[in-house]
Amino acid sequence: MSIDLKTVKHISKLARISIDDEKANKLKGDLNNIFEFIEKLNELNTDNVQALTSIAETTLRFRKDEIKSENIREKILKNSPEENKDFFVVPKVVE
């Protein structure tokens, strides 16, 4: 199978990365090369194989639900792209 331009545009929409037609065409070529290489996996029959979901064979640990850091508002907002001491600012969402 091959990835067409429409699919590339669709993926870019899903990934929230805008691309122009020139870039999309270049990406189409790259992605097709990469997927051609990936298709090799179809040589293997994996019907009776269990998917490996975690390499560390441990169950997630529980911990007490307690507050460990306090008054970190300033720290959290410190790298905010648009300055505002109380909130993160984004373009207007609700009309």
């Binding site: 805008s18 290489f37 790298n79 993160f88 984004v90």
Partner: protein, 486 residues
């Protein structure tokens, strides 16, 4: 006493403990050399002024019980450092100054080390040549216009060029071992779960591990001892008793069973690498190890598996870079346009390519065919190693299928770039520890490495085997300092 910057971590630590050198002398020596080494482009951000202050502070009241007493260390720019810019080699984090510290770097400072600065790397650790960095490519000190490997390319170059005594990198598919191999240095990727991932900019969370990059195996054992720790802040950190790796380091590998996997004899592998491997095998025999032929039948499927699993995890990890809470923002008429422009302008081509692959393999209708399939093959790859380790104690392979290549040589062909990691990727997929040690040179006099792979949590064993081999190989990295300016 040899020039300060030539010294190993072991020598520097001894000299500090015996009061032959001060932290300030050492720190200034590395800074002076870095000032003359700008051509290599290893630093994204330096911390020189603060480092000198901290070294003076250390000297005024030295704690000689520390494992890294007053030792200046530069780290890969993928580790969040409190108050020091952390970019991950990306424009999107160009102005990001963390307000917290990664556990692994905290472990360094907790043992007396001093931050020298942040080292260049491929953008979000995605690359094998350091050419995807927003901050430009790094020169390999081994030769002009040669890549230092990647993604920890600034790190490998900095160790090889004596700009830091040791460093830490991260390894998702070979990003410590391949650059170590390209620069004639030692690099170890620990068992998944050994070193905390807290505070490391995430690439592929089920594969990422931090690890030491050093001039020799002993230094590697010393640094691993400091950075490996159980950490509540990483849900996949594993609570087990870690060795005193440097204390237990031994060249006695008599009776150890070392496996040689036939599948690592790939097509078009340069003769020199075949030769290097044979030498390694005969040295291991000389040390009393038993050599056993083994098979890892799914080796050829590791790279295609990796190029589904890693981008899938990356696409979801990198969803956080949306221009809202931190990092670069490109303004838009509405929220969606802001996201799309921010990510389009903030990420480089390779990162976008991988996000696109990941998004595609996770998208509706393709999940089973790609992602689930890859997870199943990953199980088969892991089982190959489980089977092999029922017969052997460790596995010996080449680290890379070639030596360092020229800058620009592979940038237009992603697949040929990916093939660099053919020998290192399976180890990440199986979560195993692996170390690359310099083992020889090719016809151009460029270094080549051998890789020792171990059972989970058996870092001591691969360190010991490497230590024994290192002694027999007696590698010399004669680097000419061609880049130095006055």
């Amino acid at each position: 006493m040899s020039d300060i910057t030539n010294q190993s971590l072991f020598e520097l630590t001894s000299n500090i403990k015996e009061k032959k050198l001060s932290s300030e002398e050492i720190t200034k020596a590395f800074i002076n050399r870095a000032e003359k080494s700008k051509k290599l482009n290893v630093y994204v951000t330096d911390n020189f002024e603060k480092a000198i202050d901290q070294s003076k502070k250390f000297d005024s009241n030295p704690n000689l019980d520390f494992k890294l007493p007053g030792i200046p260390i530069a780290v890969k720019d993928l580790f969040c450092t409190n108050g020091v810019r952390t970019t991950a080699g990306s424009k999107i984090l160009n102005n990001f100054v963390p307000t917290y510290e990664s556990t692994v770097t905290q472990n360094l400072w907790g043992q007396g080390a001093i931050l020298l600065g942040k080292l260049n790397c491929d953008e979000f650790a995605m690359g094998s040549s350091n050419e995807t960095s927003f901050f430009g490519n790094v020169q390999n000190p081994v030769g002009e216009n040669l890549v230092p490997g990647g993604s920890s390319g600034g790190s490998s170059a900095a160790v090889a060029a004596n700009l830091t005594p040791v460093t830490i990198g991260t390894d998702t598919g070979g990003s410590i071992r391949q650059p170590a191999s390209f620069t004639g240095t030692v690099g170890l990727k620990p068992t998944y779960g050994s070193c905390s991932r807290y505070g490391i900019v995430a690439f592929a969370s089920s594969l990422d591990q931090a690890g030491p990059m050093t001039k020799n195996v002993r230094d590697c054992s010393m640094l691993l001892e400091v950075i490996s720790s159980f950490d509540q802040k990483d849900s996949t950190s594993i609570d087990y008793k870690r060795n005193n790796y440097s204390k237990e380091l031994s060249k006695d590998i008599k009776g150890k069973k070392i496996g040689i996997p036939k599948e690592y004899r790939v097509d078009n592998m340069p003769e020199e690498i075949e030769h290097l491997w044979k030498n390694g095998i005969s040295y291991a025999k000389d040390c009393g190890a038993e050599i056993i032929d083994i098979s890892l039948p799914h080796t050829n499927y590791a790279l295609p598996t990796y190029y589904i699993v890693a981008p899938a995890e990356a696409s979801s990890n990198l969803a956080r870079y949306d221009g809202v809470k931190y990092g670069f923002r490109s303004p838009g008429q509405n929220l969606i346009e802001m996201y799309e422009k921010t990510r389009s302008e903030g990420f480089g081509d390779e990162v976008k390519r991988r996000i696109m692959i990941g998004t595609y393999v996770l998208s509706s209708g393709y999940y089973d065919a790609y992602y689930l399939k890859a997870q199943k093959v990953r199980q088969l790859i892991k089982k190959d190693f489980d089977d092999a380790f029922s017969k052997v104690d460790a596995i010996l392979t080449p680290s890379t299928p070639s030596s360092a290549f020229k800058i620009g040589e592979k940038t237009n062909d992603p697949v040929s770039m990916y093939l660099n990691d053919i020998f290192t990727v399976p180890i990440n997929l199986a979560g195993l520890p692996g170390i690359s040690i310099p083992a020889g040179k090719d016809k151009n006099n460029y270094p080549l490495g051998l890789q020792v792979i171990g059972k989970p949590f058996d870092e001591q064993n691969i360190l010991n085997i490497s230590y024994a081999l290192e002694d027999k190989i007696n590698f010399k990295n004669d680097i000419s300092d061609w880049w130095l300016s006055e």
